[in-house]
């Protein structure tokens, strides 16, 4: 029983197997809290507003980009 069904999603270019993933669990995978400032997320090339992160469930093959601002010119 207790077999959890895993979903494959790509976070910042690397495949991860997560159970019932959401944006928040994708963030957790990178050890980032959902309340971390200055972070943004795109799901399959579309920005997901922070207010939608916890309710946005991920499907097999989804591509998630999690970004922040770094030094730049």
């Amino acid at each position: 029983m207790s077999d959890t069904l895993l979903t494959t999603i790509t976070i910042n270019g690397i495949a991860h197997e997560l159970p019932a993933p959401t944006i928040v669990s994708a963030l957790t995978t990178l050890a980032i809290g959902a309340d971390t400032a200055h972070v943004a997320v795109a799901l399959n090339d579309v920005v997901v507003r922070r207010s939608q992160w916890d309710r946005c469930t991920l499907k097999h093959g989804d591509r998630v980009e999690i970004i922040t601002a770094v030094a730049g010119g």
Partner: protein
């Protein structure tokens, strides 16, 4: 009344961009400094008000104070789309930046060539239009081509940011004539973006009519970044003041400054 000094209006020479008024005409990039302390001291020394940042994938276990947290209270942040080669990537990067930083200001870069890092002006115009329509204040990194710059202004860019020479090259304004003509005719502010290597480059850009100058490598990779930041700060002020002061015309023969009469023995 004779000219006896600088009036308040002459001293204060603010610069309006995207509806915001700035005192400083020096924008600084934040990349490549030897360390965070030097970055902060350089931004301070440069008296800048607007600094660029890039948008990149967050790394596992990112910790410590983030750059936006460090800078955001003090400086207006200008995220860029450095590294984007397509309209699609640039637009998505811009939207992510807006979401992450809470600013709709954007330095739009679409690179067309990895070696020279020249912009792809065809895609640039398309992306600029899309982003303006999406509510962004767009400052595109572009060439000194006056037709492209006019198009960028036409689609609603808040400024144009022509390269002086190749990014990171430090060669200064390679085509002063083109820059001068561009500045004379641009309906939006011209911010010289790439290639500034030292103070005289920045002063020249301002004298040619630029509204502001953006530097990064020139400061970050100087032997002494903080001192170079003061140099660029003063150079931008100097070039701007010289422009406003109305320089003497170039002459092809000499013209004595001391009086030519009253010489002894004459």
């Amino acid at each position: 009344m004779v000219d006896t000094g600088l009036t308040a209006r002459e001293i204060v020479d603010p610069f309006s961009l995207g509806g915001v008024t700035f005192t400083s005409r020096l924008l600084l990039g934040t990349a490549g400094y030897p360390n965070r302390d030097t970055l902060l001291a350089s931004l301070e020394a440069g008296a800048t008000e607007l600094v660029t940042v890039a948008v990149r994938r967050i790394t596992l276990g990112a910790h410590g104070e983030s750059l936006p947290a460090l800078l955001g209270a003090r400086y207006r942040l200008l995220p860029n789309t450095a590294g984007c080669f397509t309209v699609r990537d640039a637009v998505l990067t811009a939207q992510l930046a807006r979401e992450a930083l809470g600013t709709s200001w954007l330095k739009l870069e679409i690179i067309g060539d990895r070696e020279t890092l020249y912009p792809d002006v065809v895609q640039l115009v398309q992306a600029a239009e899309a982003l303006v329509n999406d509510g962004f204040t767009v400052l595109p990194y572009c060439t000194d081509d006056p037709v492209v710059c006019q198009r960028l202004a036409d689609v609603g860019c808040a400024a144009v940011m022509p390269l002086a020479s190749l990014i990171g090259s430090g060669r200064g304004v390679l085509n002063p004539s083109a820059l001068e003509q561009l500045c004379a005719r641009s309906p939006v502010p011209v911010i010289v973006d790439a290639g500034i290597g030292t103070a005289s480059h920045a002063a020249l850009a301002m004298e040619l009519g630029a509204s502001a100058v953006l530097a990064n490598t020139a400061v970050a990779k100087a032997n002494h970044p903080v001192l170079m930041a003061t140099a660029l700060r003063d150079a931008v002020r100097a070039g701007r003041a010289a422009r406003r002061a109305g320089r003497i015309p170039e002459r092809y023969f000499a013209d004595a400054s001391s009086p030519e009469i009253g010489l002894i023995g004459s």
